[in-house]
């Protein structure tokens, strides 16, 4: 399983390194979304700083949809998905590999968007560990759930529009927990208040990784 996961993750990351879709298209999209949020909130820095954690995670969620769609579309061309099935890869390894590659891409996106939030909204991070931890755990949860729902929608003609419809409602816990953790980790927040939200996002990650490991094979075969 781990060998297959490493193989698939390496393949997806190599494809991303060549195509630069995540950093060349998805990240700019997220930054543009942040700029639009900044315009919408107006020049007053106080509401901007207050809203910054939530806006960061909304931008991350939108970017996640694009990153997952890219991950799915890579396997749609030239029968590549059949190629993966025919290779006899362990479905759990395949899921973990795809999710790991999306996680790495999301972490890079979060770094870009995090820098954007600091610059555009004037946010000052007081507990970097909490903020970085929320980004890491959030990326894992978003990648796991995204990979799962991406596989569910892969065989459908309307996959491009169905994926956000399926994915965005179920990742609300990540949005909530990530936002609260960021609020606890920036100026004006109390780090101790982040603990229950940390548990929530950890539970979300565990549930979706477990579901993915168990269900990815049947989903892939029926898609």
């Amino acid at each position: 399983m781990w060998r297959d996961a490493a193989l698939v993750a390496g393949k997806d990351l190599r494809i991303e390194a060549r195509s630069r879709v995540a950093l060349g298209q998805v990240a700019p999209f997220g930054v543009v979304a942040l700029v639009l949020f900044a315009f919408a909130l107006g020049p007053d820095p106080v509401p901007m700083r207050r809203a910054a954690p939530g806006l960061f995670w909304v931008a991350v969620l939108f970017s996640t949809v694009l990153a997952v769609q890219r991950s799915v579309s890579v396997e749609s061309a030239d029968g590549a998905r059949d190629g993966l099935r025919l290779a006899g890869l362990d479905p759990a390894g395949l899921f973990l590999g795809k999710a790991a590659a999306v996680t790495v891409q999301l972490l890079a996106l979060e770094a870009v968007l995090g820098a954007g939030v600091v610059v555009l909204f004037g946010v000052r991070v007081t507990d970097p560990l909490l903020v970085v931890g929320s980004c890491l755990l959030g990326a894992v949860g978003l990648a796991a759930s995204g990979t799962l729902y991406g596989a569910l929608s892969a065989g459908l003609r309307v996959k491009e529009t169905l994926l956000p419809f399926l994915l965005l409602p179920v990742v609300v816990p990540v949005l909530l927990a990530g936002t609260r953790l960021w609020q606890a980790g920036v100026a004006g927040g109390t780090p101790a208040e982040g603990t229950p939200w940390l548990h929530l996002v950890l539970a979300f990650d565990a549930v979706y990784v477990a579901i993915g490991v168990l269900a990815f094979g049947p989903i892939q075969e029926s898609a």
Binding site: L7, K11, I15, G79, D82, L86, A87, G88, D90
Partner: protein
Amino acid sequence: MASAAPSHSAPPPAVSLRGAVALSGRFPLLAGVDLDVARGEVALVEGPNGAGKTSLLRVCAGLVPVVAGEVSVLGLDPVRKRTALRRRVGLLAHGSHLYDDLTVRENVRFAVRAAGGDTGRIPAACERLGLTSRLLATPAAKLSAGQRRRVALAVLVARSPELWLLDEPHAGLDASARALVYDLVAEASSIGATVVVASHEPELTEALADRAVLVAGGRIVSERPCGRHARPVPATEATDATEATDGAGALPPCPPAGATGGTDEVVVHVA
């Protein structure tokens, strides 16, 4: 109904379908296929568009489950033992299963490693398929259809599966590559692999085949013996792909029915 029962000492067939029915939604892909392909046999599957040739191969590869009947491939249930089976089966499908952003070398290496194959065979396989060092460093997106087909064949050769499922293997290939397909099938068979070829151009393969089965409407409607002794015209004698496609001597014709050169026992139940 044409049938020849195997002896009791014969090994189980590489492919065994009994009343196999496969659906795509409510549309029948296979409508009750009975077919045995013996180990080491080369079987040619003929039939018009939509007859069920591709579906038959996909069922054998475990990509399409049957909703009725029984299927055994290399002695395994293609659904319950799909992971173990797929590593022993190679399918040359309509798609080449290539990633456009990866180079040819990276694509072949990934496909062989994913299938648990020996990466040490890759250089020889690529050389055999005419994948030069320049081509190996080329992104798959820049390949022609024929070159993509060659890469897919290189993966098969490097993997050297026990069961070769070739779906229109000559599509998009030039004359030399078509002759090479012929040689590859012959070599696979000579080392004991089983080969099932679905083709609209049976003249390109039937000289190698033990028999040809005709599929129509998702059923096997007839079968005929073929010969395995004839050789194709060398690629240098065929000036272009069109000439080969026109059957102007690219491959010798299939011997008359009954003159089979196959040595494997064959069982075909016509549904």
